[in-house]
């Protein structure tokens, strides 16, 4: 990850960080996959998805396969960039703490 460090207040809360962390390793995931891995209810996950979708970080698609309507979620380029920047910011916090400890 080479994005410039930028702490993202929207991504940082634990649940959204977990959601984006999952989505960042996949082209797309099914709604149920995220729900089951995070142990959230449908409504709680929908709320988090709505927040991320409003920010332009994810796209929610509803393809029909085997006559079943599915809900697929994927990270947008903006979402991926924000996530990379957030990870870089977290690393920077750790690096600066380690530098400070080394000086002491």
């Amino acid at each position: 990850m080479t994005a410039p460090a930028r702490f993202d207040e929207l991504i940082h809360p634990a649940t959204r960080l977990s959601i984006v962390g999952l989505l960042a390793s996949a082209d797309w995931t099914d709604f149920a996959f995220v729900r089951d891995r995070l142990g959230l209810s449908d409504s709680a996950l929908s709320k988090q998805f709505a927040t991320l979708e409003d920010a332009g970080y994810i796209v929610i698609e509803r393809p029909v396969s085997n006559r079943r309507r599915r809900v697929r979620v994927r990270l947008t380029d903006a979402g991926a960039k924000a996530f990379e920047g957030h990870v870089a910011a977290l690393r920077a916090v750790i690096a600066s703490a380690e530098r400070a400890a080394a000086k002491r």
């Binding site: 999952l22 996949a26 996959f33 977290l90 916090v93 750790i94 703490a97």
Partner: protein, 159 residues
């Protein structure tokens, strides 16, 4: 940069991200039907070989190879085990298809050697014996091979 974020909070957040990445890596595999289909095809070809119709065996072997080639492009990457997600290409090991093909070639060689040994030993159905034995190995070792790949990928995860 948030001034109030401590090192331990940042570590915790990175740990959570790594955990989620490992959860996606845990999904890297072939669909279950792939290994069962291979094993069934293997036994089918063994039965055909013992029926002593070389042209029929050759034709069915070619059909089996073509069928395998048609699904291989989709499943051999290990990114589409289920319909629940598609793992990103840069998360999976790019050598998985070569690894699986190498494993299958090894199994083909093992089948031929086993059949020749069984034939030399006077077995009535050497090809069936060899193909059943190798089909069992494929069923167990195929998924085990993928599990080893997943363990290696998970070990390398750093957010």
């Amino acid at each position: 940069m948030p001034q109030d974020l401590s090192e331990s909070e940042a570590q915790l957040a990175l740990g959570s991200i790594e955990h989620r990445r490992r959860q996606v890596i845990a999904e890297i595999d072939m669909p279950r039907w792939y290994w069962w289909g291979l094993a069934a095809g293997w036994i089918g070809l063994g039965v055909l070989a013992d029926l002593d119709h070389p042209w029929l065996t050759l034709a069915v072997t070619l059909c089996f190879g073509a069928a395998h080639a048609s699904v291989a492009s989709h499943v051999l990457s290990g990114r589409h085990r289920s319909q629940q997600l598609s793992v990103r290409a840069d998360v999976v090991d790019p050598h998985i298809p070569a690894l699986v093909i190498g494993f299958l070639l090894l199994m083909v060689a093992a089948t031929v050697v086993l059949a020749l040994v069984a034939n030399a030993d006077g077995a009535r159905h050497p090809s069936i014996m060899a193909s059943v034995a190798v089909a069992i190995v494929v069923l167990f070792c195929g998924p085990a091979l993928m599990a080893a790949v997943r363990r290696r990928l998970a070990h390398r995860v750093v957010a």
